[in-house]
Amino acid sequence: MESEILGSMIEVRFHGRGGQGAVVASNILAEAGFLEGKEVSAFPFFGVERRGAPVTAYTRVSDRKIRIKSGIYAPDFVIVMDPTLVKAVNVVEGLKPEGLVLVNTKENADSLRRGLGITGEQKVATIDATGIAIKHRLGSKAAPIVNSSVLGAFARASGLVKLESLVSSIRHNVPVKLDENTAAAKEAFESVVMQ
């Protein structure tokens, strides 16, 4: 939403499975915005978090102080960290008419569009974040840590934050394998496919 009075605020929703790092991803994105001098907030969906169950997390980035303290229902961007969620959850619910959804998947954007129920002006971007994460040995094959890759792709697809800010934020927020996470983010930044 944008207006002279209210400023320009972007709302992002992350979909992941418990344990995949969706909440950390929402925090990393917020901090990247913060490092660029923006006003930010990040929060998980406040339900019972459990491993394997769908989790949503949210980030707000704005040029003005963020006074809205309720949930996000009409995101500008949706990020889907696990391809299996597309069938399990309506990941594009509420996505703004001109919004963009980024999906971690090997599937191509056209067939994905149909699967997601995307309409009109809404855009799709895809990235094989799982492949990139495994290549950089992040997490295990069974449970790769995709958040840095997904975020790298998101930075490019959305233009919401610069790659350098994202990398600084990643390095500040991940507990181990700083260089591998950085490399994964950069690779994903270069390889995201925008429709």
């Binding site: 009075i5 930010v40 303290k69």
Partner: protein, 393 residues
């Protein structure tokens, strides 16, 4: 130094910045990361305090009271069922004149079981003699803890405070927060130095029996102290602003109320969302304002009367309810207006119980309903907002 932190971490860092010396710890969702973070800060050596693990919230308050009575700055945190478990000792803490500071995460009471935001837990403690401060940002949480010790530890006050943050909306939400320079805090907040304390070299007993001929006099003294807090809170905030550059509007924070046709009175994060909505409505030509109730105790009696001069229509939004009467905030606002020649129309809204989300859309509806009273007059004393199957929701 600004860093991203949740409201719970802001509480933990607030206790650290204020140099709490004894922390009694007992976990309860959604406060747990406060005491967990303090444990981490203590074990890393960043925070120097006695960390006392207790077996219940009742014991947590007992430990804080007795620690405070030895002259130590005491801190704890709780929420909902934990806070209500402490009820007996909350009254003890104020009766014993111990300036304990406690973070409370506003969480709904069960049954139905809930972990989400509402204000019933703290509203139910309004008679305990504690100062109560409702925050709407993580920065305010951190800063208010420091100010609470400053006010509470004054020799002419000596009263405890609870610093209140909404469950999840602040407690688990990351916001940028400035951690104040310890040297500046040192200058702002002197060390705790009560005249009478538990001390083997100068022994005293505390809390003894008092016959009817003197009991009331002790209560009168607490009343005097609580009345002093009104001015003390404003002074402490003024000095805080001079030292750190931040302030929060004192007991009641007025936002665009001066020429408003209608004002909503709210406490907690919903007040922040309401300010956003007020701006949107103002840009549409609707003259609305937000009076954020920051201190519920002491009750902002003078400020409410000031508000009555600014506007003719007030919508008081309670995020709790006292069955059998109006919502607690509405009851007290109306009480404060009693006796005025020109009393504004006051309507009570009950909203957001059990964490029901208070979105800009919902608040806009409430503002519009309140503005309409200008033409219709008061339609009903209380309106419940968002109850599925009631009132059009």
């Amino acid at each position: 130094m600004k860093i991203m932190m949740t409201g719970n971490y802001a509480s933990a860092y607030g206790a650290m910045a204020a140099k709490a010396e004894v922390v009694a710890a007992y976990p309860i969702t959604p406060q747990t990361s406060i005491v967990e973070k303090i444990a981490t800060l203590v074990s890393s050596g960043e925070m120097k305090c006695q960390y006392v693990k207790v077996e219940s919230e009742h014991s947590a308050m007992a430990a804080c009271i007795s620690a405070s009575q030895t002259g130590a700055r005491a801190y704890t945190a709780s929420s909902a069922h934990g806070l209500t478990l402490m009820h007996e000792l909350l009254i003890w803490a104020s009766g014993a004149r111990t300036p304990v500071v406690m973070s409370n995460v506003n969480r709904a009471m069960g049954p139905p079981w809930s972990v989400w935001a509402d204000q019933h837990d703290t509203m139910a403690q309004r008679d305990t003699g504690w100062m109560q401060v409702y925050c709407d940002s993580n920065q305010e949480v951190l800063d208010s803890i420091i100010m609470a010790y400053k006010v509470g530890e004054r020799a002419d006050i000596m009263l405890p405070s609870m610093i209140i943050e909404d469950a999840f909306i602040l407690s688990h939400t990351m916001e940028p927060v400035d951690y104040p320079d310890p040297e500046l805090v040192e200058g702002y907040l002197p060390s705790f130095d009560p005249r009478f304390r538990l001390d083997v070299d100068e022994p005293y007993g505390f809390g003894s029996l008092v016959m009817p001929n003197w009991y009331m006099e002790f209560r009168f003294k607490i009343n005097e102290a609580m009345e002093k807090t009104r001015g003390a809170i404003l002074e402490a905030e003024k000095e805080f602003e001079e030292t750190f550059g931040r302030s929060y509007g004192g007991l009641m924070d007025f936002y665009k109320c001066e020429d408003a046709d209608a004002v909503l009175v709210l406490a907690g994060t919903v007040a922040s969302t309401a300010k956003h909505v007020a701006d949107k409505l103002r840009s549409d030509g609707k003259k609305v304002g937000v009076a954020r109730l920051r201190c519920f105790r002491p009750f902002p009696y003078d400020e409410v009367r000031q508000l009555a001069k600014m506007t003719n229509i007030i919508g008081v939004c309670d995020r709790s309810y006292t069955f059998g009467h109006w919502g607690p905030m509405a009851t007290e606002v109306k009480g404060a207006l009693y006796g005025l020649a020109d009393v504004p129309t006051v309507k009570n809204y009950i909203m957001g119980l059990g964490g029901k989300d208070l979105t800009p859309e919902v608040l806009e509806k409430v503002f519009v309903k309140t503005l309409q009273l200008k033409d219709t007059g008061l339609d009903t004393e209380i309106e419940w907002i968002g109850v599925t199957g009631h009132g059009g929701w």
